[in-house]
């Protein structure tokens, strides 16, 4: 297989972790006889510095010519006071919308050797294996009108049937190849958009008789993600609820630093990035753990290229290195064996 991948390192630890992930990708390519052509582009704060634009036209052109995108992280205090259009995260919002990456997948799985870093009791989180499917290109994030004066401000939460159907369908399809359970999260006791959402989920049910569906209100889901996270398999929800719940879910198992994500569209083109941020305070120290970005590459192989075996191999290698007790400085706890980002990546490649 031959594929073109655009890599957008971004800010902070972004360049370090993507460097690791690219070397893992290339070693997988060598071993399985695939050719991955890598091109680099600018996004976020560094793109603002170089091009006065968090998503320059060159970057868009590069991505349009490739089969998938790997992103590091964007943002940092340097650009925090910038006007909205010149903020690093605007690059992220624009790239999602431009490429219609409507389905954001965030798996959260307990990793035994990281559980001691969890704020939750071990018996609550040890069996967690869930996937949040967040709608990423609609709702409050992009709805019009949006206005602000000194006297009032407004945002619009709008969803079309088409937008809801495609994300709900993709969640059903994911549930049926996992444990067959789908939780649809809304606020149907208050919002009109949630009532349409719930209706569409109910309509779709008949097409997936092998999937068990439940509706759950967003407030009650925010509780149950803490009291009983192991009960969830696939969780599907709209953009803003997904933003909040996926961040909440990301900390329960103690493995925030190692969580990957995928943002894909119907033809399987996708953008892959770690859930963690740009962590400017540790940038350049060689202590950032690249696992989240390496696992994002595994998601790319699986979802964009259909290379399931190669993806599983990467996941296995990452788990093995953690099991062997190797950590990087940012994840280290007393007694663990601490490697640099580069050394840790070597271990994964050797595995």
């Amino acid at each position: 297989m031959e594929k073109k991948i655009t890599v957008l390192p971004g800010d902070g630890i972004g360049p370090e972790v993507v460097a690791s992930a690219v070397s893992v990708l290339q070693s997988v390519g060598k071993r399985y006889h695939h050719t991955f052509h890598i091109a680099y582009g600018a996004i976020g704060g560094s793109a603002i510095d170089q091009h006065n634009d968090p998503l320059p036209q060159e970057t868009i052109a590069l991505c349009e010519q490739s089969d998938a995108i790997l992103l590091g992280a964007v943002g940092g205090p340097k650009w925090d006071q910038n006007p909205a259009e010149l903020r690093p995260e605007k690059g992220l919002l624009r790239i999602r919308k431009h490429f219609d990456l409507f389905s954001n997948l965030r798996p959260v799985q307990a990793i035994p050797s990281l559980l001691k870093a969890s704020p939750l009791k071990e018996d609550i989180v040890k069996d967690v294996d869930l996937l949040i499917v967040r709608e990423l290109t609609g709702g409050l994030y992009f709805g019009e009108p949006r206005q602000r004066t000194e006297k009032a401000a407004l945002d619009t939460l709008v969803y079309t049937r088409f937008e809801i159907e495609r994300i709900v369908d993709s969640a059903f399809q994911l549930a049926r190849v996992r444990r067959g359970k789908l939780t649809s999260v809304d606020k149907a006791n208050v919002l009109e958009s949630s009532r349409l959402w719930r209706q569409i989920v109910d309509e779709k049910k008949a097409g997936y008789p092998d999937v068990e569906v439940e509706h759950s209100l967003v407030d009650s889901t925010a509780m149950k993600l803490i009291t009983n996270p192991a009960a969830y398999d696939v969780v599907v929800t709209e953009n803003m609820f997904g933003d909040i719940l996926s961040d909440e879910a990301s900390v329960i198992t103690g493995s925030l630093g190692v969580l990957p994500s995928a943002s894909i569209r119907s033809d399987n083109f996708g953008l892959y990035e770690p859930v963690h941020g740009s962590a400017p305070e540790i940038a350049g120290l060689g202590i950032a753990n690249p696992a989240a970005t390496i696992l994002s590459v595994a998601m790319m192989l699986k979802y964009s290229f259909g290379l399931n075996e190669e993806a599983a191999e990467i996941e296995r290698a990452v788990a093995a290195v953690f099991e062997d007790g190797y950590f990087t400085g940012d994840l280290a706890t007393p007694g663990s064996r601490v490697l640099t980002t580069a050394e840790w990546t070597e271990k994964v490649i050797n595995e």
Copy 2:
């Protein structure tokens, strides 16, 4: 002091827990020489059954003539399929809006004897003592337009300067009589309404030099409430974010069943209710813990009537009964002494 209180028992365990709370209130009245006149009204599912209206005109009239409202809980599977206007929670939304109860206060405090029921590790939650101040009458809950067709649906998130200023002011005032720390939660990197919110918080700062203010994004707050909840003092946010975050916060210390809430307006008129729901599955069994409703009465004494000493006395008594190891069936763990709702209430009154 002489006060009129309207009691709205509602559905499920509502009638049981308000009965307990009213007897505690009356015993405090006797002891401190206050007269509390109690009138009963219908709300929620039982009001739908009796009057075909979750908030009958009689109930509104009764509340208008009183100094405060005590509510049990509303809802249950019996009414789950009703149309939106005939749902029990619609009574709650309408009463909040009718009486302009814009400030919803939800304290979450670690109770040592309940910590073993927490899903979080004890060292993370043992020092939790936070207060969520949720805006309750604006935002997505009430914004117009709101529409739904078969093809699309929309809700509007709108806030006026006036609405934001009054909730932010009340949060600042609460912070200065607590530990002097205020966290304002928004999504200013995406929403126009959040940008106005953040601007107003910054404008208000100068008026409260004794309060330390931080802005926190809603997604990151959803994480930190789990990883470091003890870091929060007062948290202020808009209606929908407050709904999600206050429910999330309510489970961290293991004391969901005992959390009170207040919904007040500028003249201190208020509605007080437990955070827990109507729990229809245990209604009538005499095992529901009335602590949340009893503590809601304490909030009433404090916020609506300025009776701080009486309120503190109730809080002390409730804590003492838990410390002595007495629980009701719903909170019981192996080895605890289990009392009925009525017996437990007696213990509090004796204290």
